[in-house]
Amino acid sequence: MTTKLSNAQIAWRAAQDIPDGAYVNLGIGFPEMVAKFKPEGREVIYHTENGVLDFGEAPPAGEEDWDLINAGKKPVTLNPGASFFHHADSFAMVRGGHLDVAILGAYEVAENGDLANWSTGPGSVPAVGGAMDLVHGAKRVCVITDHVTKKGEPKLVKKCSLPLTGVGCVTTVYTSLAVIDIVNSRFVLREKLPSMSIEELQAVTGAELVIDGPVGDLIVPEV
């Protein structure tokens, strides 16, 4: 019986909610995996902050063009209908409300939608990139994450303890155990692993899980 979803399975679940025709930005790293699980028959146009719309998969080794990369500085290819633009236009797409979905990772998400995902605090070199921009503007700001930290502490919390990326910005959280919407500053439980009771899920969640409507089974294929 599944005790928790793998990262690939979390990415698969998030991908199912991306509608046909959506303009989507996937954060660097784990969120990039969502593209692999786009349901058959849906067209999704990916935006990357460095100035490309409608990029495709990585090229075969040896065919990289280092002027054609994504925000993670990995080589990509172009789909028919792709376009290039400068950075101010790229972030106009972000902040101007033109993106349908942004998917990011998280250190912590608070019940009011605050997100912490850029800094683990003093002692390291701070680096923010486009995360603070991406959380403002996309119609849906989704987080994909393990439900708890490596030490087993909740990542869904009452109030973030780490430096914030944005205030009240997250719409939906896809975790290794559940799918949770943020509505009126509360965590509203939408789906959970069938093997887990609500009480067990609440025990590893740092703020109240509100039940408002049906709670579905979070069932994801092996991927």
Binding site: T48, E49, N50, G51, V52, E64, D65, W66, D67, L68, I69, K73, F84, F85, H86, H87, A88, S90, F91, V94, R95, D114, S119, V125, P126, A127, V128, G129, G130, A131, M132, D133, H136, G137, P163, L164, T165, G166, V167
Partner: protein, 239 residues
């Protein structure tokens, strides 16, 4: 009018100690490697230009480009959004030792500050960074029920950028995602110096295809076979 310089050294001659320098590129794409390394060569020979404030999205990777400038000791301060890379040692060591300053700016805010600098807009409001450490000390205001942070324009003494084609009047095109910050930086600097893969006569670029109009460009040099930062890194170029 002829903006074409025969040599890179001459084109860069007016870059002096203490200047602010915008450098085009996002990671290696669009990085004007030949301009940067000619500047480093001059610094190693003459001790100038040092004490520079460098504006770029990143803070160098490996030992090439901006990382090489940092290793050489020319950079006093970085203004950037993401001073991490696959090999960020050049910046990280100096930053943790307190030998280089950092002004961290969210990426979209960095782009818009540069655009504003070039467009004569001294400040603007953005939702980005509201309620975060990055917004501390900055004025905030409410518009239509939402909170925004005031950010100021960003200008520089010099911009050095890489283009694909330039015509003799300074009109530019770029190659794919190498465009990134360069059209903005060309607007925001007092002196914009361009390395182009090919220089064509005026009229050699269809006006419909010009990305940066020549009014934003002062000097052009042709570098017909430009090095890619990423390729140099993979070849293991050392400081």
């Amino acid at each position: 009018m002829n903006k074409v310089y025969p040599g890179i050294e001459d084109a860069l001659a007016d870059i002096q100690d203490g200047m602010s320098v915008m450098i085009g590129g996002f990671g290696g794409s669009g990085a004007p490697i030949e301009l940067i390394h000619t500047l480093i060569d001059r610094y190693r020979k003459t001790g100038s230009p040092g004490n520079l404030t460098v504006i770029n999205n990143n803070a160098g990777n490996g030992a090439v480009g901006i990382a090489a400038m940092i290793y050489a000791g020319m950079v006093k301060k970085m203004v950037c959004s993401f001073p991490r890379s696959s090999d960020p040692k050049a910046f990280t060591d100096k930053y943790l030792a307190g030998e280089i300053e950092l002004e961290l700016v969210p990426q979209g805010t960095l782009a818009e500050r540069i655009r504003a600098g070039g467009a004569g807009i001294p400040a603007f409001y953005t939702p980005t960074s509201y309620g975060t450490l990055v917004a501390e000390g900055k004025p905030v205001a409410e518009f239509d029920g939402r909170m925004y942070v005031q950010e100021r324009w960003l200008k520089a003494d010099v911009a050095i950028i890489k283009a694909e084609l330039a015509d003799t009047k300074g009109n530019l095109t770029y190659n794919k995602a190498a465009r990134n910050f360069s059209p903005l930086m060309a607007m925001a600097a007092k002196l914009t110096i361009v390395q182009a893969r090919k220089i064509v006569p005026a009229g050699g670029i269809d006006p419909e295809h010009v990305i940066t109009p020549g009014i934003f460009v002062d000097r052009i040099v042709e570098v017909s076979d430009p090095k890619q930062e990423e390729v140099l890194l993979r070849e293991g170029v050392q400081a």
